[in-house]
């Protein structure tokens, strides 16, 4: 069962430019499960886990492209997503309501109610 963290959206705009960000602070999102070939910066321990967008960081070059000396375009929105320890580690969590924030690129996120 998903345990969601509380999130207070920051009272300021992202300092780095962003356009067409699909998610907003407070939205419930799930990190796409599974693997993909190549270099990526989506930690394994968060794949398939559900959390809440804490803030939009801005649009940034895609590391999965940069790693192969391509230009990293198009830039993708990066979010700080917050997860509860209960969601990430289940019954083995050290303390259920402690949280983990990680930066996740938009193409690794889907709405939590996606099939």
């Amino acid at each position: 069962m998903t345990v969601l963290p509380e999130v207070t959206p920051p009272p300021f705009q992202p300092p780095y430019p962003t356009q067409d960000a699909r998610f907003a602070p407070g939205d419930t999102v799930r990190v796409r499960p599974g693997a993909a070939p190549g270099h990526m910066r989506t930690p394994w321990f968060l794949r398939g886990r559900t959390g809440r967008v804490e803030r939009i960081c801005g649009d940034f070059a895609n590391p999965e492209e940069l790693a192969y000396r391509r230009d990293g375009g198009p830039a993708r929105a990066v979010y700080r997503v917050r997860f509860t320890m209960a969601e990430v580690w289940g019954d083995g969590a050290e303390r259920a309501q402690d949280t983990i924030d990680a930066e996740i690129f938009e193409h690794w996120l889907e709405p939590a109610d996606a099939p």
């Binding site: 920051p10 300021f12 300092p15 780095y16 910066r41 989506t42 930690p43 321990f45 960081c57 801005g58 940034f60 590391p63 990066v78 700080r80 917050r82 990430v88 580690w89 050290e94 303390r95 309501q97 402690d98 949280t99 983990i100 924030d101 990680a102 930066e103 996740i104 690129f105």
Partner: protein, 216 residues
């Protein structure tokens, strides 16, 4: 009698104080060390850079230390408007007080009575080097990187930091383009302190989040 210091006879392989010499731990260069030397020498040979430029860059990197971060924290403690700007855009606030972020995108996370922040990079060793200098070795170890997201309270306890039950631990995994600095809580008893005195109690570990400022 290896510990007979009065005996001026030296055993084979023993130091003058009668202890065994510790073997040198020189290792052959690794593949990547050889690669670095080869690329560096080629770049110098081709006139693309110079040994002096490389030395100057190393000196610039070595000159950064946690003192820079401590000065930012001290300023934020004393100037609420600066603190708000720092939380909204860490890099712009650094520049405002004359610290060059050199492209680093800084996010400052504030400790409160209810939330304690701690920073880790589970994927590698991302660290706000332009503000804190080079990371400590433990920050890059597999143990710190894997345990901090799994059992942060146990890790903090090993650093000597026991958090109250009603404080939420908020772990920050630097997985992409941001770098994180923890803004510790200002200890009571520091009212009226100078910026230098305040900065003096802000250690590197406080800004990573594995410690909190202590009064001397």
């Amino acid at each position: 009698m290896p510990h007979d210091h009065h005996d001026h006879f030296h055993h084979e392989g023993m130091s003058p104080s009668g202890h065994p010499y510790r073997p040198d731990d020189d290792q052959p260069l690794t593949y990547w060390q050889r690669m670095e030397i080869a690329v560096r020498e080629l770049l110098v040979e081709k006139g693309i850079t110079t040994a002096a430029e490389i030395n100057a860059q190393i000196e610039r990197m070595d000159a950064r230390s946690p003192a820079l971060g401590a000065s930012v924290v001290a300023r934020a403690w004393d100037d609420p408007a600066f603190k708000q700007r720092l939380l909204a855009d860490g890099s712009a606030a650094m520049e405002e007080i004359g610290i060059d972020p050199s492209g680093m995108k800084l996010v400052v996370v504030e400790n409160t009575a209810r939330v304690h922040n701690v920073v880790v990079c589970t994927l590698c060793s991302c660290y706000p080097r332009n503000l804190l200098g080079l990371p400590p070795d433990w920050y890059k170890t597999r143990a710190y990187r894997s345990r901090t997201v799994r059992e942060p309270r146990a890790v903090l306890r090993e650093f000597g930091l026991e958090l109250p039950e009603d404080v939420r631990v908020q772990v920050h995994d630097s997985t992409a383009d941001m770098r994180y600095l923890v803004l510790p809580r200002r200890p009571s008893g520091t009212e009226g302190w100078s910026a230098e005195a305040l900065a003096g109690i802000v250690t590197r570990d406080c800004m990573i989040g594995v410690a909190v400022p202590q009064l001397p």
